[in-house]
Subunit: 336 residues, 2 copies
DNA sequence: CTGAAAGCGCTTACAG
DNA sequence: CTGAAAGCGCTTACAG
């Protein structure tokens, strides 16, 4: 049953035109008479013609594929970014090649260098987007890319999220509930977001004239286990916090576990807040107060910007900052 | 700084051989004298040569890409499968094209039909792998694929997991703890796994001479919300179960929520078990007793089988059944 | 063990 | 608005 696939020549012959005209129709180029266009389309349908990508790629020196570079492969964050990216890719007839990698790996550069001819451009997620060697490589080889990052790099388009503002709001919300000793767990030090979230925490305290107390702050690594150990440390101190704001949801889940260990009722004896609004947060008990990032929007935006770059239309601004929003659930309340 | 990419012709010229010889070296074909091979490799390194995929694809009629078809795009399951699949893809120099789709969508067939020339083969996950129209399409067009499914289809290679055995073991474990009224929440009816897990539950009951009681069984859909409403129903009955076994972890999380609502202590007043050992399970409070599926192994195996198909080596068995294992945590205990 | 020729199915640059 | 020619960088089939 394997019928040979029809080619541009078959269509041209059947429609009685040159292959160039068929090419024009399929690439939506102007300057084709409507009647000619119709003939071509009819012939293509009869033959069930689909352009051969490999041939198109070879001739045009384009791949019609974009690559997505990221670290943390098993996170909900990445899954959601993929999803949004894929939506836009399909609109443009592009495919997505996913490439998990380690930001600190010594052969990252070789690896990506080898990938550069397989894609037309990259979407680079944190923290890979903050790897300076990689950025340098992309710059020197003039590779199209959009960075999702909290920090700019040269003239590259980048998408960021207002992490600082959101962390500031969350801290203020906890203060408004009446908390005076608000603990904070910092995220992985390699992520720009970690610094921005800490900065938001500090700015809210400062505005409310509350002293920044190092004993209320612990350094985590974005995983549940680090959240658990940080919480144990904070809760063991003589003047324990009445609320703990963790820089992401998995760490906040760790705080919840620690609260159980210490026999503390959440939120009566300890309020807990996270960041990201991952599925975890909604499923926790009690459901987690957290910050919702517009992840799908970040992904769609990044992909759209890249597509416009690739089509030579860098019209409009290619830098965007999106805002996150508070999601208040049952894990936070007034102290005592 | 954009230096022109070197081609097979450049390498051939520098090495003083024909392009065919260069091609042989890069495709690891036999029958090349070692000294010739060395010359070619040296020349290629000097020029930093990398074969152009598009050209190779056009000439060989291969894409060196495999497609992954799946529904449930945002699940931990899919993320983990991607990960394992990617590992094997890299070993073979293949890329992965991910294609989420809806198993019941009317234009699924057109969609996949259009994709078939962009990949050399497919890995198809449940429940898409059980869509008969799709399987028929793959069969008729002689498209290479490996199905991850609980049911065979014609001669297609398939990978399955011993869901029934695992569900049987879990049920037996609960019975051994002393439970006599074990509730069960069925998964989404479109998944073969749902039926196998139910069958395992029933077989364990039967072996232990415990009557199958319809009032202890509810129909879920694999999401947390359905688990919650099923649990509410089961817990409202006059003779409520002392343990509930949900067909996956999100639904078990729903059962935990329901237990909180009903003021039931887990596991003292209600034991709860799930299935899949997703990250959720470990992070729940109390941590969930569940079944660990060898997901990464399933993915690696499926990809390896596909690669061997593509290389014409269908030697060895291309059907595999993997076993799952019980993971006992704090959410289960003896009744009362 | 090695090579010369043809061809994969498109697009690019040019001509009219 | 349309087309003839050349070429993209490889592999295939054949020859020696």
């Amino acid at each position: 049953m394997i019928t040979k696939r029809s080619t541009i020549n078959d269509v041209a012959r059947l429609a009685g035109v040159s292959i160039k005209t068929v090419s024009r129709v399929f690439n939506r180029e102007p300057n084709v008479r409507q009647s000619t266009r119709d003939k071509v389309i009819a012939a293509a349908e009869t033959l069930n013609y689909r352009p051969n990508r490999s041939a198109r790629q070879l001739a045009s020196n384009l791949t019609f594929v974009i690559g997505m570079l990221y670290d943390n492969p098993n996170s909900d964050y990445v899954t959601e970014v993929q999803y949004g990216c894929l939506q836009v890719c399909r609109e443009y007839g592009y495919n997505l090649l996913i490439h998990p990698c380690q930001a600190d790996s010594p052969d990252l550069i070789d690896e990506i260098g080898g990938l550069q001819h397989q894609v037309d451009g990259f979407i680079v997620l944190q923290p890979v987007s903050d790897d300076q060697r990689l950025n340098q490589l992309l710059l020197e080889n003039n590779i199209a890319c959009v960075r999702v990052s909290q920090r700019p790099f040269e003239e590259f388009p980048w998408i960021s999220v207002g992490d600082k503002e959101a962390a500031d709001q969350m801290t203020e919300y906890l203060l408004d509930l009446g908390h005076r000793r608000v603990g904070f767990i910092i995220g992985h030090p390699d992520h720009g977001s970690s610094h921005d979230r800490l900065a938001g925490y500090r700015s809210a305290l400062k505005r409310r004239d509350i002293r920044y107390d190092e004993n209320l702050v612990a350094q985590g690594r974005f995983d549940l286990e680090s959240g658990l150990s940080c919480a144990r440390k904070l809760l063991s101190s003589t003047s324990r916090p009445t609320a703990i704001f963790a820089s992401n949801d998995p760490m906040a889940m760790g705080v919840l576990s620690a609260a159980h260990e210490f026999g503390l009722d959440v939120p009566r004896q300890l309020s807990v807040a996270g960041f990201d609004d991952s599925p975890l947060a909604r499923h926790a008990w009690p459901p987690l107060t957290t910050v919702r990032q517009p992840i799908t929007e970040v992904a769609r935006l990044a992909t759209n910007v890249l597509m416009q770059q690739l089509q030579g239309r860098s019209e409009g601004d290619s830098n965007h900052r999106l805002q996150a929003e508070l999601v208040c659930r049952a894990s936070t309340g007034s102290p005592g």
